[in-house]
Amino acid sequence: MYVAHRVSADHKDLIHDVAYDFHGQRLATCSSDQSVKVWDRNENSEWICTASWKTHCGSVWRVTWAHPEFGQVLASCSSDRTAAIWEEVVGESTDRQRTQSHWVKRTTLVDSRTSVTDVRFGPKHLGLVLAACSADGVIRLYEAPDIMELSQWSLQHELSCRLSCSCISWNPSCFRGHPPMLAVGSDDSSISSGGKVQVFEYNENTRKYGRVETLLMVPEPVHDLAFAPNLGRSCHLLAIASRDVRIIQLKPLRREGVLSQPVSPGRFETQQLAQFDGHGAQVWRVAWNATGTVLASSGDDGCVRLWKANYLGNWKCVGVLKGDGSPVQGDGAGSAQTVPGCANTSGGPITPISGFPILNGNHAIRNRLPCTSPYFLPPDDNLRSASRVNAVPLPVPHPLPPLPHPLPHSAGNRIPSHPEHRITRRMSSNIIWSSHDSANQ
């Protein structure tokens, strides 16, 4: 049961992206009005806009938060061909209630020659890493070597995917057997240019990212993709918003026994777990919940749909909400009944009126593609149109000795992530207290 309520946003144009911070207590929105707004939850869990500023000279496509370990840092990207890093500074305002906070641009990343379509911070164990992709088909990976100095970003890698990039997603897994990985989607509209999702993985030996997978099963333009939060799973789930919603499982192939090391990097068993055309049209966005168990998607039908797997691994629609928050008639999960199977317009009842060209009274005409199949794909076998790709049986090499004791993540040690322990990023080994001579008084 999902209930929606409206938050007045006060953007002057379309909102292109919304992003929660790590704790879900702050919110960033970006819009075609070239601004970014930051919202904070107050005591009554209402969202209060605490900052709004012009960020770019073009539509701001995406906004994203860095892990709070690195401070309050935002990245935005825009059609003005730049991406920017923002940091909140405090102490400027005198107001105790923090009604307005101040955000400072730390750097502008100007390497792209075309619109920057997506920016994403890498998972926190990689340090402060940012991936940006642009319409000219280049993915750029930036790194802030010193997290205290956010104005210094070095361009570490430039990956070419040769197709106009529309979206990017990091694999969030912190498992040390999983090398850093990211997936890129392309909105190139020609079917002939091949798979529109490419997966890149870092290779420890060459110290470079290399393309390890091109998902040929997605030939249509991809508008969004998202890796599910890994949460201890051994395989990766990638949701793709294209002409339909797809969930693809990437299972690293590794030898039995030595589980911490893949046999050869970049070998995956790719399996499509689900494919839904419930939106009946283009799907624009996909997002996973915190555990990677519920997928939300939005599409041209103006609805947000929620998908969830049952205990057998069959994905089903568990909720539908219209874009304006109102529930779809006939309630969420049962929405299959609200849309007749086929919007066949010419065959409906005909009501001629006074010799005028006939208007069809068929109420099935809807703002969506007619679905020739039932609205939701039937469960079980049809849904799991599992196609195994790349299941290359590998020769099992000589077993390697197990790795020594796993190290805790270095980043986690360098900066404690627990907020109680961490007051600012500045730390030193010495303290000076109020040693002023107040004792004399």
Binding site: M1, S234, H363, R422
Partner: protein
Amino acid sequence: MSGLKPDILWSPQHDNKFIICDSEIALYRMDPVAAPAAMTSCHRLSEQTAATLLAINSETPYMKCIAWCPRHDAECLLAVGQANGRVVLTSLGQESHAQVKDLTCKEFIPKHARQCNTLAWNPKDTNLLAAGLDKHRADFSLLVWDVNSKYGVEAAAATAMPQFSAADRGRILLTPEGDLGHIVMKPLAEFGQNDACLSIAWIPHNSRLLLAGMHRNLVTYDLRDTSQKQLFANSKAVQGVAFDPHFNNRFASFVEGQVAIWDYRMSEKPVLTLNEPPRQLSKVAWCPERPGLLATLARDSGVVRLYDMQHTQAPQGDDTEPPIIERSAQPFGSGAVAAFTWIPTSQTRMLALSQARVLCDFTVFERIAFAWGPSPALLWACGRHLYECEEKSGVVGKVSMREQDVAGKMKRRALAGYGLETEIVWKNFQLAGDQDPQLKSLWYTLHYILAGTDFSFPMIKFGTGTLESQLPPVYHGVKILVKSESGKTESCVGAEHSVEVVTYRSEARSLALQLCGWRPCGNDDVDTFLLSLERFNEWERAAAISLFNLKIRLAIQILQKGAASGKGVRKLPRLIPGYTDDRASLWREMCGSLRLQLSNPYLRAVFTFLTSEVGSYDGILNESDMAVRDRVAFACMFLNDNQLFRYLDKLTNEMKESGNLEGILLTGLTQDGIDLMASYVDRTSDVQTASLCMLQVSSFVIEEARVQHWVESYRDLLDAWRLWHKRAAFDIHRSKLDPAARPLQQVFVSCNFCGKSISSGGTATGHQGRSFTQYNVGGSPIKSKVTSCPGCRKPLPRCALCLINMGTAASPNVGEEEDRLSQVQKLSQFNSWFTWCQSCRHGGHAGHMMSWFRREHTECPVSACSCKCMQLDATGSLTSAQLD
């Protein structure tokens, strides 16, 4: 040729009226659907709207183009351009206004008959009507008519008549209602000599100017100076000139396969070119509600394309075009759209007409962007608005508790303290909340394992040299355990009946039975277990187990008790005593058929056991509804070594495959157990149970990379939920088993005078304490009451507020109200800790500092220090999600 291609026009005066015109003109009204059943005379447009036909006008043949008069007093006055170049004013419905009545049926006739291509009313001077015509030798092609003109035929006839062709003249004279007063032949202005006019638009900011798409160029004309023409641009895109209603200077025009967007101030080159599929475009229209939104429709195409032009500053010295968000809508699916119009009442809403004459009211939805928060909240942006949506689990009952997503489950369990109960381990199952049989089995297994840790098998070897071999035997699970020792055959005769059943016994097997819960620790008697089952009303299970222990009488008693309590099955107790050893008895037959009707797996097992041949127990072993532990225990009693090992191997693999937590009984907490747990995590994402279970028992498994991964993932999750206290409890629990996970000391406090660590005072060695943990920093009031440096005996720093040296308990806050005292007492432990700002390094008692910043202070309490200590950290404003 029947006339113009079908078109829809929305009323300039009314929000709910529109016309459809092709061979005739029909006026409709759009209404919200009131009662779907009652609306018979209406055409459904969508689920919410329907259209009612108001009027039809078929008096104007040869229509080529049509324009709706924007006058407010003239409701439905239309100008119709005909194939012969005439423009006729006509109206739909009853016009009450006298002046309008005069206007209707007026005709405007050009000198030479040729097709009228376009019509445009002047939006301000609504008496001006521009008509664009095809080329006719040296004649003018753009005529501006004044509809109020009194030029009748009488005046014009003398001059104009001779130029008419004979046929035309005849027609005028023969017009039935030949009221020549209605005919106007003298235009107000004439432009475009020797040219064709394809489209016209009045320029919005100057009602005297006209922009016309002529043959191969766009031209501006001025009514005040009819002799001049000003070339705007040479372009092929001369059709459908239309100004953006929101930007006076922006207009669009099109040609086959291309739409050009122009800035009126910037001639010669379009600002933007939109490349369409190379098809004849039929309509291009700006959205009246939203700026910069243009819709196009190609002929015979089912797709209405929308271009959302972003308002962007043109990059200097660059010819890149501003970005456009392209959308498309297919209101009729694959069916072609004949015409469309914007509905002016709402953004991105359109009315479309298919070629099969079906109307459809549809909305092109905004792209919805959204994000999931860590608390299961979904937030999305639709257009300019934000919507937040939370899962309401309180509304629904138990059913959805089970159905609830694992994220919500885990959070609820974390709050309940799930997994941290280390004394009576099975209680964790109760803390988990819902009656998940797998979790129940898991926590009971762990409970029995912990209870049996001190049990040792000196004679059993569990591998050599590995860490695993050092584990107490019970951790290895039943599968390995029973293999360590072969069972001795024992022929058992049931006490009450002369049944001869072969059972097997060994020390390992009885330990396995303990792990299954059938035997209490160190005891061979099943009765206590049966009693506990009875207490939980598990009558059938108790009966089955007592029967498997060859206590038939007890089994009957249990069933009778169950029947008496109203929970058990009534008839059955009477059946069992009829047990005979005779293989072919009637009783057996009856039981066999009855068995199939039983729904309870344990009762089925009872009858299977009683009726089956001695030594063949497949019916019971494969009873998948029976708990795994009971099946395993049964197997341990009745199967010989070979059968047992085969059965357990098979069962283990099944469990591992499906990630069934009941299998932990078999695998124990070994590599196998981790494999099983991994497949459970893959299936459910329940990383909480996985990490808590692994942390519950042994330290060996913790070092496994996967276990570490689960633990880290779970900690991240707790962090994201702001359950700091729960995470701290989890960390403490973890560091007990895994000293390596203990966080390194993060803060060292050294004396201002001698520079030595003050923490050394607490330790006997007096050395700088590596072993000193963070929990002691600042000295808890119980342990160290030192107020001076242990090294140099100089006083420690003072609290900036109470000015008492570090190491003393904090006084109740100065000026604090009485009612706060209770709270202060509750927090006193923490209140007397010392804390300090990492930036200015001023500090004091935590309680004092908190109350200082809780009041109207933003700056540091130390005078002349302007550090805004509390604001420096954004996470400082994060309150814990739940204070316990």
